[in-house]
């Protein structure tokens, strides 16, 4: 390799690498510098200008051959368009194309100026369109990018042909020189850029995509198919074209030979006819013909034979006596002349050079002209007319071309050349070479001949004794084939590229988009929305698919609905069973007036594990407890039932509380493979003495109101139950005063979350209770639950809200009825019973005193009138109703007798006892009704 070659290769290598390096630069600027924050258009314009400069470098670094520039220019706009955006590609193409137009002014080739400029501009536009329509703004893989490069270069080279149709041979030479290097370098430049960007874009990305998507598969598959298809058609075209090269050359050569023969024949015919006519003028009549004239003419005109033939067709006189008396009708060749003797027939005839009738070994050319009483016939042999024809033949072949560089050779004898194209140098040895070639080859058949080191297709023919040899360089014939293959293959590449795009877009439209739509809907279904319908109806197949999916989803939906209905009903039953296991009757112990107890559980949606319980252990002790089983659902509720019964059984057995809890723990640990556990707070209250014993097994500390102040009962008695078999528990004791109230709860209360995800918390509970120091158990529970609910409003209730409240010294809401005789003994009895009943109600002494006064006074009044009445009976009925909310006593006295309203008595008689009057004023309400034959007086006291 000389220095120039190395330099050229180096130039090409740099121009090929430059687009990839520019890609790396742009990538770096975009990702690693502040330039990446620019908007879309500034980036596109910057990119376009940069790649436009790369295209210009491609032009200027190109190699000028045959007034055209071999270059790597188109790669830049392709890369810009494919990888950085349509506008960038179009701008780069424009810059590169316009510069190429002007570059012709400083010698970058005028011949391909138009083709090159247009191709570069088209490259940018084409890449931009592909990016948008085919790749959908995704970066194509490098093989596809490479294919794009090939297609653009093919288009470029085809444009060279199309813009130079008037000089196809030159265009062919340019294209032949440029095809491989330009297609190769541009395609490699684009492919390298694609690979560079894929590499920069990250290695990891390929790994997270396990399978390529359909469009990629189609692209790769179609690319391979198209490449194979192209290769095959190219092969077929090559074979077909090659096989036709010889036949086409043969046809060409024989055509040229034919024309030349015709020329020579015509000249020869004209020559002989002229001689014959001259003879006919001399011998104008058969009757007057004389032998001396004949001989003289033969001599003078240098002809071989001269015959005078009479009107019967018999030679009557001849230059050769042997012919005299010969009947022309006897030979095929000679009989042709008989047509001249017919009346009205032609007046002359020239025959081709051919074997004579008398002796077929001898070739002659004859001409006959009519004269009076017959005709004259002139015969000529080769040696005679070659001499006469030489000038004409020479002229006929001197300017005749065969193909571009072929020529004709006319040989008269083995060593005598009489005509060849002007400018062809023929040595004597060449003449012999041609002669020998023609003598070995068949006349009119194609054969190959080497002449001055060049291969020629050759064919010869003989005419008028001359051998005419036509020669055409094999390369001329092959060029024709190559041009045709080149153009065919270029067209094929373009057609295949167009097909590729068309089929791809079609598949994308018909299949891929529909698949994505189906997929999108399926995604929604997978995410749990079974009401989604798939409705892709672009084609029958997708309509069927949509219907099938919808049917499946519907079936699934129904199955799930049926199943969940079954589960729901099971869970509802479980919940009902669980809830029914909790005591729900209030007051639970109507006979016990020394405390009031209330509990409630509002279960979350699911069955949960909270429970409470209370029961009498013996006459004066009541046990109350609250518990929370870890977890939810059926397992938790089953464990809860077990825990509840274990605790109740052990506590009821009379053992000390801590022992009972310890035993229950041991029992619950047995076979607790699921690792469930339960936190428990249990207390035993002696409701005579107010002594409370309690154990806290890992439960939330309860709140105790003592002397109007809420406090936490933080004593811990041990671990939760069900986990540690050997756990020990400790009990604590405390004496409650009347009016003390204790609130047990589970974490559903203090750990309720608001919609803002804030916990309710112990502090909030404490301050809520601080506002309510005088609520009886039911109301307190209701107030707390309402507050927790309003806190958690908008959030799903995640846990059971369970509370148990016990107020010591408060009678549960109660009522009573007793009848006493309507006399003074009855009055004393009534007061005694009243005191006994109300002693549990924490009725303040002064209230009790006023009630006593009102009751006694009304009793006496009713007795007096009752007795006075006709229907006076001996009994008075007393009813009372104790309500906790508002805390009040409603009392009612019913007595028979005449209608009499003791409350109105004052107005009528002015005699109502002053004490009664004062006491009544102290009551909150008082009323009289006449009920049948009875007088009913009711009064109410709140406190």
């Amino acid at each position: 390799m000389d220095q120039r070659t190395v330099l050229i290769l180096l130039q090409f290598a740099v121009a090929t690498l430059l687009p990839a390096l520019t890609c790396a630069l742009v990538w770096h600027l975009n990702k690693k510098t502040r330039l990446g924050e620019m908007g879309f258009w500034p980036k596109q314009i910057g990119c376009g200008i940069l790649f436009g400069l790369v295209a210009i470098f491609g032009t200027e670094a190109g190699i000028v051959t045959e007034d055209a520039t071999m270059n790597v220019r188109d790669a830049a706009p392709i890369v810009a368009g494919l990888y950085f955006g349509g506008p960038a590609g179009i701008l780069a193409g424009l810059i590169g194309g316009v510069e190429r137009w002007f570059a012709a002014l400083w010698g970058r080739g005028m011949f391909t100026r138009l083709a090159c400029s247009v191709a570069t501009i088209l490259a940018g536009i084409y890449a931009a369109l592909l990016r948008r329509q085919l790749f959908r703004d995704r970066k194509p893989s490098w093989p596809l990018a490479m294919a794009v490069g090939v297609v653009i270069e093919v288009l470029h080279l085809l444009l060279v042909f199309l813009t130079n149709l008037d000089d196809g041979a030159r265009a062919y030479i340019v294209v032949r020189a440029c095809t491989y290097p330009m297609i190769f370098c541009n395609a490699i430049a684009v492919a390298l850029s694609g690979a560079m960007l894929a590499w920069l874009g990250g290695f990891g990305r390929r790994a997270d995509r396990e399978a390529p998507d359909i469009s990629q598969k189609v692209q790769v598959g179609m690319l391979s198919t198209v490449v194979v298809g192209f290769a095959m058609t190219l092969m077929i075209v090559s074979v077909l074209q090659s096989s036709r090269v010889e036949s086409r050359s043969a046809a060409n050569l024989s055509l040229v030979l034919q024309e030349t023969e015709d020329d020579i024949q015509d000249a020869s015919d004209a020559n002989l006819l002229e001689l014959a006519t001259e003879v006919a003028q001399e011998i104008h009549s058969v009757g007057e013909a004389r032998q001396e004239v004949v001989d003289e003419l033969v001599e003078e005109l240098d002809i071989t034979e001269l015959h005078v033939i009479d009107d019967r067709g018999v030679i009557v006189m001849s230059s050769d006596d042997a012919f005299v008396g010969y009947n022309m009708a006897l030979g095929e060749q000679s009989s042709a002349f008989l047509s001249l003797l017919e009346p009205g027939g032609p007046t002359y005839l020239v025959q081709k050079y051919q074997p004579m009738a008398l002796n077929s070994a001898v070739w002659r050319k004859y001409a006959g002209v009519v004269i009076d009483g017959g005709m004259v016939q002139v015969g000529y042999d080769a040696e005679h007319f070659v001499g006469n024809l030489t000038d004409e033949v020479r002229l006929a072949v001197a300017n005749r071309h065969v193909g571009n560089d072929g020529f004709l050779v006319v040989l008269a004898r083995r060593d005598l050349l009489i005509g060849v194209r002007k400018g062809i140098r023929v040595e004597y040895s060449d003449v012999l070479h041609f002669s020998d070639a023609t003598s070995t080859a068949e006349r009119g058949e194609l054969f190959e001949l080497k002449y001055h080191g060049v291969d020629y297709y050759a064919m010869y023919n003989t005419t008028e004794s001359l051998r005419v040899l036509a020669l055409m360089p094999v390369s001329d014939a092959l060029m024709e084939r190559d041009v045709s293959i080149l153009i065919t293959s270029f067209m094929e590449i373009l057609i295949f590229a167009a097909l590729f795009v068309a089929i791809y877009v079609l598949i994308e439209r018909v299949v891929v988009r529909s698949i994505w739509r189906v997929n999108g809907r399926l995604g929604e279904i997978t995410d749990g929305d079974l009401n989604v319908e798939v409705d892709v109806r672009d084609s029958a197949e997708f309509a069927v698919l949509s219907d099938d999916i919808n049917t499946t989803v519907l079936a699934l939906r129904n199955a799930i609905a049926a199943e969940s209905a079954r589960i729901e009903s099971d869970l509802a039953t479980a919940k009902a069973i669980q809830e029914s296991a909790l005591p729900r009757t209030f007051p639970p112990f109507p006979d016990i007036k020394s405390f009031d107890i209330y509990a409630s559980m509002s279960a979350a949606r699911e069955v949960g594990g909270d429970f409470y319980d209370f029961f009498l252990v013996d006459k004066h002790t009541v046990c109350f407890l609250i518990a929370d089983v870890s977890g939810k659902g059926i397992p938790a509720s089953l464990f809860m039932m077990a825990a509840k019964s274990e605790l109740a059984n052990y506590i009821k057995s009379g053992m000390r509380l801590e022992e009972a809890v310890q035993s229950a723990n041991w029992s619950l640990c047995q076979g607790n493979d699921a690792g469930m556990f339960v936190t428990v707070w249990a207390g035993i209250l002696n409701h005579y003495t107010g002594e409370l014993t309690y154990v806290n097994a890992g439960h939330n500390p309860p709140l105790l109101r003592h002397n109007g102040q809420w406090e936490w009962l933080k004593d811990r008695g041990g671990l939760f139950l069900g986990t540690f078999e050997m756990a020990r528990y400790k009990s604590f004791t405390r004496t409650l005063a009347p009016g003390d109230e204790i609130l047990l709860y589970t974490d559903g209360v203090n750990e309720a979350f608001s919609a803002q995800d804030e916990e309710y918390g112990n502090d909030r509970l404490e301050s809520l209770l601080a506002q309510h120091v005088d609520l009886h158990p039911k109301l307190l529970v209701d107030v707390v639950r309402a507050d927790v609910r309003s806190w958690a409003k908008g959030a799903e209730q995640s846990d059971d809200i369970t509370m148990l409240c016990l107020e010591y010294g408060r009678q549960p809401e109660a009522s009573g009825t007793f009848r006493v005789p309507a006399d003074s003994s009855g009055r004393e009895e009534l007061v005694y019973k009243l005191h006994f009943e109300f002693s549990h109600l924490r009725c303040p002494a002064h209230v009790q005193a006023k009630i006593d006064v009102v009751t006694k006074a009304l009793f006496s009044t009713l007795c007096a009138h009752g007795r006075a009445g006709a229907s006076g009976q001996g009994e008075i009925e007393f009813n009372y109703q104790y309500d906790n909310e508002p805390r009040s006593l409603t009392m009612c006295l019913t007595a028979g007798g005449d209608a009499f309203d003791p409350l109105a008595y004052e107005q009528d008689e002015g005699q109502l006892d002053q004490t009664l009057s004062n006491a009544l004023a102290y009551m909150d309400d008082a009323a009289y009704v006449r009920d049948g034959d009875d007088n009913v007086v009711a009064f109410r006291k709140l406190w």
Partner: protein, 100 residues
């Protein structure tokens, strides 16, 4: 809630972040089941746990029993005050080995 497991031979640490509720406790459960039989020195990092419900405690107890069952040990690392309160209330503070 987020759970990350670092296992190295017989040592393993489970990092828990968020709320250990009845809904999220099963995730910690499966993380526990996921650690290998060879692990006998388990740390559950509770530094990022802002709330623990009884279901979460149950998983911790299960983990403790699992470790005890194979002669290993369980540590609770860096529990927040909220978690410590719950552990204290339930009496578990004395049961677990706690590393502050």
């Amino acid at each position: 809630m987020q759970i990350k497991v670092n296992a190295d031979g017989s040592k393993a640490t489970i990092f828990v972040e968020g709320k250990l509720t009845v809904q999220t406790a099963p995730d910690l459960s499966s993380a526990l089941e996921g650690i290998g039989q060879e692990v006998d020195d388990l740390t559950i990092d509770l530094a990022e746990v802002e709330y623990i419900a009884s279901a979460g405690l149950r998983v911790l107890v299960t983990a403790d029993k699992m470790m005890a069952g194979r002669g290993g040990s369980l540590r609770l690392a860096g529990p927040t005050d909220e978690v410590v309160d719950v552990l204290e209330m339930t009496g578990l503070l004395d049961v677990f080995e706690i590393v502050r």
